[in-house]
Symmetry: C2
Subunit: 223 residues, 2 copies
């Protein structure tokens, strides 16, 4: 809790002082923790991913990606193989990459980065969600862990959406991310095949899109 | 429906063709409309607002702002003056600025822009939400209209969050947006006073923050 207080800029501490401080569980203390967390979230707007926005002008960042995925959750939940609640799916995707504020974005085709990713992200979750009041910290931590473990229908569908969007965006810019990094079709297929666990329908479309991308020369077969 | 089909890039139409077409209400037709809408949403990442990200390096865009507001909804709903459902509040804020893809961002202190804003945004909502299957189109259109009318507790709290975030971010960069545009304290107070209708607590904090901003010289009194 002392750590949280240090996170707040002086002007915000002073603004909040108008509410007084009625103790650890009070609305004023909760609001102070929540606003500290929300200001910290602003940093997700500066965590850049490999994916380009569809006009190709620049890479997208985590805040934009989480918003896009939240909307996809609200709209595509009906295509999940098992029934999932669209609101809960949307919430999961709205928070799924917050840990990257501390841990950074690990390119999904970078196997070395993947090895250290888990420990880094766990530490990041402790610090970032730790800024919140206990009930919200526990709620968001549990939801993020569920996403990472990919064992529930909601988490499997969230993972499917999290992969489908960059595939579509990457195809829209003629496979630029794949080409730049020398990623071949076999790896794209194997890394994304888990989309089928969340939604066989989405995977059917994604796989066909990858096949035609190979035919069209925007995705290479292995040498 | 014919219009929707034209929105899809050829590679996506071909990818979707693997599902066949089982008629207007079928999962394959719905997915086609949903993915067309989701690709269109990518453009919100290029609609820039006046607000700067908190490190001051650039302005923020609508996608980032909608994500930030979605998280604020999930966390701050408890501070609303009347009980609101955090999930519904989050959904409202996740979609509230989508119309700006067509209508552009109108600076809140620009009274001339505000006059034409309503008609432009209505047309934008028809085109953009019109890309979706009928049930989702109606759902999102109704939610957006509720937000715009600011008559329900959820809409009043959404409007409060939508204003609180730029105030905090603007204070974090020493009032840069206000200074650049020559906006004085009286106008900031009057334009944002409706925060109180959604949450007296948030307005108490915001107002105190604005008062100290004047004292600290980052917000000017009128001449």
């Amino acid at each position: 809790v002392a750590v949280t207080a240090h996170q707040l800029p002086e002007w915000l501490e002073e603004a909040l002082s108008v509410l007084g401080d009625d103790g650890p569980e009070s609305p004023s203390r909760r609001l102070s923790q929540q606003l500290g967390f929300l200001l910290e979230l602003d940093k997700a707007k500066q965590v850049y991913r490999r994916t380009y926005v569809t006009d190709g002008s620049r890479r997208e960042n985590d805040a934009e990606h989480m918003w896009h995925a939240t909307l996809a959750a609200l709209l595509l939940a009906e295509h999940a193989s098992e029934e999932v609640d669209p609101g809960r799916l949307a919430k999961m995707l709205a928070i799924h990459d917050i840990v990257e504020i501390d841990a950074g974005d690990a390119f999904i085709y970078d196997q070395k980065a993947a090895l250290e990713k888990e420990a880094r992200e766990k530490k990041a979750a402790e610090r970032l969600f730790g800024l919140l009041p206990a009930d919200q910290r526990e709620d968001l931590t549990a939801l993020w862990q569920e996403f990472e473990e990919r064992q529930s229908p909601t988490a499997r569908m969230a993972a499917a959406i999290d992969r489908l969007l960059p595939l579509l965006m990457n195809r829209a810019v003629e496979g630029r991310t794949w080409t730049e990094a020398g990623i071949t079709a076999d790896r794209v297929l194997s890394v994304n095949a888990h989309i089928e666990n969340g939604s066989p329908r989405l995977w059917q479309v994604a796989r066909h899109m990858l096949e035609t991308a190979v035919r069209d020369g925007v995705l290479q077969e292995p040498a």
